[in-house]
C-alpha cells in the first residue's frame, strides 16, 4: 500500500496540491509552509531516521530540510515531484551530519553467514516469512539497502523518482532493490531455524 492508497487521491492530485503549496511558500505564505510540513514531515522524519539511525539527529536533519525549503522554495524548477525534491533535500541534510563517515551500517555478516547455509532460494524464504521477521531483518541491513527499500515501499516513490533522490540511474535503483531483497532474504531465519526455536 503506497501513501495514497488509503486516501483515494491520485499521485497527480497530490503532486498538484504540493506544487500549489510550494508556490505559496515561495511567496512567503506561512500557512502553506505549515501545511507542506504536515503533509511530508512524518515520512521525511522516518527517512532521516533510517539514514542517521537515531531520532535526535533525524529531527535536526528535518529542521535543516524545512529551513532550506523555506529559503529555496522559489528555486524549485519542477524537474521532479515536490516530494522527490523534499526527499533529496532531506538526504543531503542527513548526509551532512554523517560528514567524514559512512552512513551508519549495522553489521549483518553474521546473519548472512547463518542464512547462507539455507538451501531455499531467496524468494521462497521471503514468500514464507512473516512480516515481523522481515521487519527485523530490514533493521539489520546496510544503510544503502535500507534506504532504497524505504524509498520504494515506505515513502512510495516511483523508481524514477528514487533515482533522482539518490542521483543514480534508474537501472541502478532496480539493481539495488534486487540486491537489497537478496540480502534481506539471506538474513531471514530458514524454515529449519524457525522450527528449532
Amino acid at each position: 500500500m503506497n501513501r495514497w492508497g488509503d486516501r483515494g487521491y491520485s499521485p497527480l492530485m497530490e503532486e498538484e496540491h504540493d506544487r500549489i503549496l510550494l508556490d505559496r511558500v515561495a511567496a512567503g505564505d506561512e500557512r502553506a509552509f505549515e501545511a507542506l510540513y504536515e503533509r511530508h514531515a512524518t515520512a521525511l522524519f522516518a527517512y532521516a531516521r533510517t539514514l542517521l539511525g537515531e531520532s535526535g539527529p533525524a529531527e535536526e536533519a528535518l529542521q535543516d530540510t524545512f529551513v532550506a525549503v523555506w529559503h529555496n522554495a522559489a528555486a524549485f524548477e519542477g524537474r521532479s515531484a515536490v516530494r522527490t525534491w523534499l526527499f533529496g533535500i532531506c538526504r543531503r541534510q542527513a548526509l551532512k551530519r554523517t560528514r567524514g563517515q559512512q552512513l551508519r551500517v549495522v553489521p549483518v555478516e553474521d546473519a548472512v553467514s547463518v542464512a547462507s547455509d539455507a538451501p531455499e532460494p531467496e524468494t521462497v524464504v521471503l514468500a514464507r516469512a512473516d512480516a515481523e521477521a522481515v521487519a527485523a531483518a530490514f533493521t539489520r541491513l546496510p544503510a544503502h539497502h535500507r534506504e532504497v527499500l524505504q524509498l520504494a515501499f515506505a515513502a512510495g516513490l516511483p523508481v524514477t523518482e528514487i533515482a533522482r533522490v539518490l542521483g543514480v540511474p534508474v537501472g541502478t535503483v532496480k539493481s539495488r532493490l534486487f540486491h537489497a531483497r537478496a540480502t534481506l532474504a539471506k538474513a531471514l531465519p530458514t524454515g529449519a531455524e524457525r522450527t528449532s526455536r
Binding site: 529531527e59 521462497v124 514468500a127 522481515v134 530490514f138 534481506l184
Partner: protein, 292 residues
Amino acid sequence: MSHPTDLLAAYAMRELPPDTVAALERHLADCPDCRRDLTAWRHLATGVQIATATTPPPPAVFAVIRRRVNIAPRIPVYAGQVAGHPLRRMAALLPWQWWLVRWPVWVTAGVVLILGTVIAALSPFSAEVMAMLVPLITAATVAASCGADTDPAGELTRATLTSPRTVLLARLTTVLSTMTVASLAASLALTLPDGARDGFALVGAWLGPLVPLCALSFALSVLWRTSVGVGAALTLWSLRPLSGTDLVGDWITVPVERIWTPDTAVILIAVALVAASCYLAPLRPLRRSRSV
C-alpha cells in the same frame, strides 16, 4: 511472455501502467514461480513498512523551524461568525436578561407593586401614592438586578464575547421595561374602572421621579454595592414627604423636589450618570457575590 521478473517489484509498488498490469496479471494466473516472487516482494514491502513506521516528529521540531526562519508563532484567531446582525443579537440578549435576575427580586417587586396599586385605588391621592411607590420599587429592582455583588452570572457573562457593558445595558433595559410596563398596567387599572382619574397625570407623577431615582440607584449599585443603591433610593424616598416641611431645610428640599419633578437638565444628568456607570462598570474589580 517469459518470466517478467523485472516488472514484479514495480507491480508491488503499484507503478505499472494499466495495460502492463493486465498482461502481467494474466501471466501471474498461470505462473506459480512469478506468484511466489510477487509474494516475496509484497512481504518485503510489508516488512519495510512495519520497520519504518514512525510517529510524527515532536511538535517542538516545527517550533524550532519557525524560529529559525523568523516566522512568529501564529496566534489562533476565531474565524467563525461571532453573532449575527446587531438587531438580532439585541433581540436575543434582552429576554435572557430576564432570567438572569433572581426570581425573589421579581416576586418582591410584583407583590409590592400590586399592594401599592391597591392602596392607590383606595386612596383619594392615588397619583401621589403611585409617585411615591413606583420609583422606589423600580429603583430597588434596578439595584438588586444590576448590582455587581448580586449578579449570579457575572463571572460567566464576563467570560463571553459580548461586552460586559452591553450585558449591563441590556439588563437595565430589560428591568426598566418590565417595571415600566407593569406600572403602566397598574396605572391603567386605576384609571379604567370609573374614568375619574387622569391617566396621563397618574403616569406623569411616577414616570418623572423614576428616571433620576433609578439612575442614582443604578450607578451606586453597579459601582459600589447593591445595598448602597437601594439605600440611596430609600433615603431620597423618605426625604420626599419631609421636603417642604420645617423638619428639613431648603438644602434638602430643593434637590429632592428637583428629582421628583425633573426638568430636562435632571433627565440629561440621569442619562449621563447611567452612561458613565456602564462605562466604568467593567473597570472595577469583580466582587464575589455575598450569597456564594
